[in-house]
């Protein structure tokens, strides 16, 4: 009788404990959920009035303005779909260009046009730090060009062998662990539903994540009020990956662009977006 009573008490106690544990889990779940909701609410409140639009306007003026030593506009620039064709050009970059015999992303292609059409020194601009001189104009131009493909589906060409080779290189580089922290791009961007602090990390190995991660840049960064091109986004990723300084328009950045862009196939571009 006594042992039964003890067992009974024990059972009640266990049941009570399990209810406690359940409520505790629910509590922390609700807590995490409400944080996520609040962040979503914050982001929604910023959606109307993306300052990236200021840079789109600025980029449009720059595109049409006669500039550089030759005092000519960029309107004859071929971004892959023919001279001056903007609509849909961004969702097919990076791609192979016959004239330079290179796979180029938007920013490196813009430099080519600035050099060949306007007479600027492309390598001097490439060596200029972000946020200084012509680099400011390059990011505004990138914002403008990308805005002309907003809502379109990514469809990077893979017909030229160099485009396919760059995809394979980009994939290998994405998984390359090195540096003092042993980080690779994949350390943070190869799993679903993970985050750093409160920032959601897109899984760039799949369509959804690649579209969210690749398809949002150029973007206006709320944290520092700057307009960043993909080149600048990758530069800062690599800084935090504890890698050395990537050269502007280097094959590493372009191969990664091809890998991410091809993975985004069919996803819709939301560039220029608003980012943390």
């Amino acid at each position: 009788m006594k042992s039964f009573a003890i067992a009974f008490e024990l059972g009640r106690c266990l049941r009570f404990l399990s209810i406690c544990a359940y409520m505790w889990t629910m509590c922390s779940f609700v807590h995490a959920q409400s944080t996520a909701d609040a962040i979503a609410q914050y982001r929604a409140m910023l959606q109307d009035g993306n300052p990236a639009d200021l840079f789109v306007d600025k980029g449009e003026l720059l595109w049409k303005a006669a500039r550089g030593p030759k005092n000519i506009s960029l309107q004859a620039c071929d971004l892959g779909l023919g001279p001056g064709i903007l609509e849909g050009a961004w969702v097919q970059l990076p791609r192979y260009f016959q004239d330079t015999q290179r796979v180029q992303d938007l920013e490196s292609r813009l430099l080519t046009c600035m050099q060949t059409l306007q007479g600027f020194d492309a390598s001097a601009i490439a060596q200029t730090p972000f946020g200084v001189g012509e680099q400011i104009n390059v990011s505004a131009l990138a914002a403008f060009v990308s805005s002309r493909s907003m809502g379109q589906a990514f469809l990077l060409p893979q017909s030229h062998p160099e485009e396919r080779r760059f995809y394979e290189l980009g994939k290998r580089l994405f998984f390359t662990r090195a540096g003092p922290y042993d980080f690779s791009c994949s350390t943070c961007h190869a799993q679903d539903a993970k985050r750093i602090r409160l920032q959601d990390l897109p899984n760039i190995t799949g369509k959804e994540g690649a579209t969210a991660g690749f398809g949002a840049w150029p973007a206006y960064r709320v944290s520092n009020g700057q307009m960043w091109s993909m080149q600048q986004r990758l530069n800062d990723c690599l800084r935090q990956q504890r890698f050395p300084y990537p050269l502007f328009g280097s094959d590493f950045t372009i191969a990664l662009g091809v890998y991410m862009g091809v993975n985004s196939k069919g996803g819709q571009s939301i560039a220029p977006a608003l980012k943390r």
Partner: protein, 151 residues
Amino acid sequence: MTQRRDTLKWGALLPTALGIGALFTQEAQAFEKTAFEAKTWTDALKAMGVSSPTESKDLVLNCPDIAENGAVVPIAASCASPGVKKIIFLVDKNPSPLVAIFNVSEDILVNFSTRTKMSQTSDVMAVAVMQDGRALVSKKEIKVTLGGCGG
């Protein structure tokens, strides 16, 4: 699209086309320098001749519970009661709490939105200064989180 083109076109023309200097003369004299430099929100209000605002449900302060980044925090206020003269936004724990003053005219609704910087988690306030000298206040705490990799 057409809107933007209009903006661009007019933007280039207007500064020269209008005699803008005259627009600001009135405001320039009225600029609340002392209030903007005040170190507490009560001092800021005092500098504008506003004291002891009462909490009111008529004044609606719309802002998020959490700001993912303190550099840009959306804030908005609206007030349905008649007789509002100014809407003032303040962030309690900012080095200088006064953010902005919006003057109400007969041509606009008492409904303003902007974005503020917050140095840390703090109460955010909207104050409505009424024609009859009364003042209403609506408060809300906004948590500022640390984002990114911290590098």
